[in-house]
Amino acid sequence: MPALLEARGLHAGYGQTKVLHGIDFAVEQGGVTALLGANGAGKTTTLRAVCGLIRAQGEIRLGTDRIDRLAAEEIVRRGVGHVPDGRGTFLELTVEENLRLGAYTRKDRAAVAADVERIFGYFPVLRQRLRQQAGTLSGGEQQMLAIARALLVKPRLLLLDEPSFGLAPLIVQGIFAILRRINVEEGVSILVVEQNASLALDIADHAYLLETGHIVMAGGAAEIRRDESVRRSYLGY
C-alpha cells in the first residue's frame, strides 16, 4: 500500500540544539501510525517538522509532493491538520470562531456546514458551548475543540501531539475511540504522538519508537506491543 506521508533522513533542532538525528518513518494511506517515546525524545519536534512549523533537513513527502520546504500555512492547504501539543486553542475567541478558523481555507460552505454537523455528532458538547469563550472550556472539551478545528481543514492526514495530556482517563478513552472512528469512517490517515504507549498502540496499525532523536524500533503495532523491552520500559509490565 502506498504511503501517504514519508520522511527520510529527517534532521531538526532548535538553534544549536539538535533534536532529530536523521530519522525515517511513514504513514500508510488510511492507516494510523503511532510515534512513541519518552519526554524529550523528539516527538513534538517531528510533528512540527512535518507540518512546517520548524525548518528541517531531509525529505518529507505528502503523496507525491515534497513538503519539507513549504511554510506551515501552505502545508495545511495540501490537506494536513495538526492538533498541537497544549491544544493551541484560540482562548480569547468563542468555540464557534475557533471552528470557523479551522475551515478558513475552504470555500465550499455547504460541505463545511455538513462537516460541522458530523463533528457535533462526535463531540456533542461543542454544540452546547458554541457561543462560549474557548478559554472557559475544560481540558477535555478544549482537546475535542482542537481535534474539531483540525478536522474542519478536511485533512488527508491528521497529526496529533499528545492528545491524552492532562486529561482524565475516561475522557481520553472517549477521545481515542472517536479518533478510531474518524480514521475508519472518514478515511483520514493519522499520525499520533503519545507518551501513553498503551493508548496509542490500541488504535495504531504501525508504530515507531523514538529515543533521543533516533528511531530504535519500527513495526506493526501488535508486534511492538509484544516486544519485551517495550513492555518493560513503556507499558509497565
Binding site: F90, L101, Y104, A150
Partner: protein
C-alpha cells in the same frame, strides 16, 4: 454653569473621538506585535499633509480624503514589510528605537517638504467658528460622527467578517493561526495598514481644530496613549472607551480644576496612575506568569 458643563462634556466627547481612534490604532498594533507604535501620531500627520496637498491640487474634499486614507493604508503596509518584519524577534528596546527613529524621520520629512509654518486645514462640515445648538461647532459634530461611523465599521469588520476573524486570530495566536492556513505575515501587514488608515482619518478630522504643523499629533498621541492604557492596552473596546473618557476628563479638569495649561499634564497623570494602580487597565487582561 450647567451650559458650561454641558459644553465641556460635548467638547470632551468630540476630542475623545479623536483620541479613541488613535488609541484604537495603537492597540491594534500592540495586539499583533506587542510593540507600542510611538510613530503613530507622525504617520497620521503625514496622512494629513498628503490630504492637504491633494486638496490644494484641486481635488474635492472627500476625494482627497479617500485618496489620503488609501495612501495611509499603503504606508502602513510598507512600514510593516520593510521596518517591522525584520524586527519580529528583536528585543523590545530595539523596536522602541526603531519607532522613535521613525517618529523623528517622519517629523523631519514633514517639515522639509511642507515647512514648519502652521497651516489652516479645511473642514467639510461648515467651519469651527459657528456654534450649532450652543454646545458644539458643526465641525466637532461632523468629526465625531465620522469617527463613530469609522469605529462601528471597524467593529463590524472584526466581529463579522472572515478576514477580520483571521486578523484577530493572527494577533492572538500566530502559531495556531498558521495551522489553520492563515497567512500570518499578510494579516500583520493588513493590521498595520488599517491602523495607519485609522490614524490618518483621525489626523484629517482633527486638523481643522488644532491646525496643521509637523508637531500637530504630539499632544494627541499622548492623550491616545493615556486612553489606550486606561482602557487596557490589549483591548480594542477598552481603547475606545479610554479615549472618550480621557477626552471628557481632560476637558473637565482643564475647565474646573487645573486650568488649560495643565491639560496635557492630566494625560501624563492618568498614564502614571494606571501603570501604578492597575496596569492592565479597566478592561485589559491581567496576565499572570508562573515563575
Amino acid at each position: 454653569m450647567m451650559i458650561g458643563l454641558a459644553h465641556q462634556i460635548t467638547s470632551g466627547i468630540a476630542n475623545g473621538s479623536i483620541y479613541a481612534a488613535v488609541a484604537l490604532a495603537l492597540v491594534m498594533i500592540y495586539q499583533s506585535t506587542h510593540h507600542l507604535n510611538f510613530a503613530q501620531g507622525e504617520m497620521a500627520t503625514l496622512s494629513t499633509y498628503m490630504c492637504l496637498t491633494l486638496i490644494n491640487a484641486g481635488l474635492p474634499y472627500w476625494g482627497a480624503f479617500a485618496l489620503a486614507v488609501a495612501a495611509s493604508f499603503v504606508m502602513g503596509l510598507l512600514t510593516e514589510r520593510i521596518l517591522m518584519r525584520p524586527m519580529l524577534n528583536a528585543p523590545p528596546l530595539s523596536a522602541v528605537g526603531v519607532f522613535i527613529g521613525l517618529l523623528l524621520l517622519i517629523n523631519a520629512f514633514d517639515g522639509w517638504v511642507w515647512d514648519y509654518v502652521i497651516k489652516p486645514f479645511p473642514s467639510p462640515f461648515g467651519g469651527s467658528n459657528a456654534v450649532l445648538g450652543g454646545f458644539i461647532s458643526p465641525h466637532e459634530l461632523g468629526e465625531t460622527a465620522v469617527t463613530l461611523v469609522m469605529l462601528v465599521a471597524i467593529y463590524l469588520f472584526f466581529r463579522h467578517t472572515t478576514l477580520g476573524l483571521a486578523m484577530r486570530a493572527a494577533a492572538y495566536n500566530p502559531v495556531s493561526s498558521r495551522l489553520c492556513g492563515v497567512r500570518v505575515n499578510r494579516m500583520l501587514g493588513l493590521g498595520w495598514g488599517l491602523a495607519a488608515a485609522i490614524g490618518g482619518i483621525a489626523g484629517i478630522m482633527v486638523a481643522p481644530i488644532v491646525f496643521l504643523d509637523p508637531n500637530m499629533m504630539g499632544g494627541i498621541l499622548l492623550y491616545a496613549f493615556a486612553g489606550a492604557l486606561l482602557g487596557g492596552i490589549d483591548n480594542a473596546l477598552g481603547a475606545v472607551i479610554g479615549g472618550f473618557t480621557v477626552g471628557v476628563v481632560e476637558n473637565l479638569f482643564g475647565a474646573y480644576v487645573v486650568g488649560t495649561e495643565l491639560k496635557l499634564t492630566v494625560a501624563l497623570i492618568i498614564i502614571v496612575a494606571v501603570l501604578l494602580v492597575k496596569p492592565a487597565g479597566l478592561l485589559g487582561r491581567t496576565v499572570q506568569t508562573r515563575v
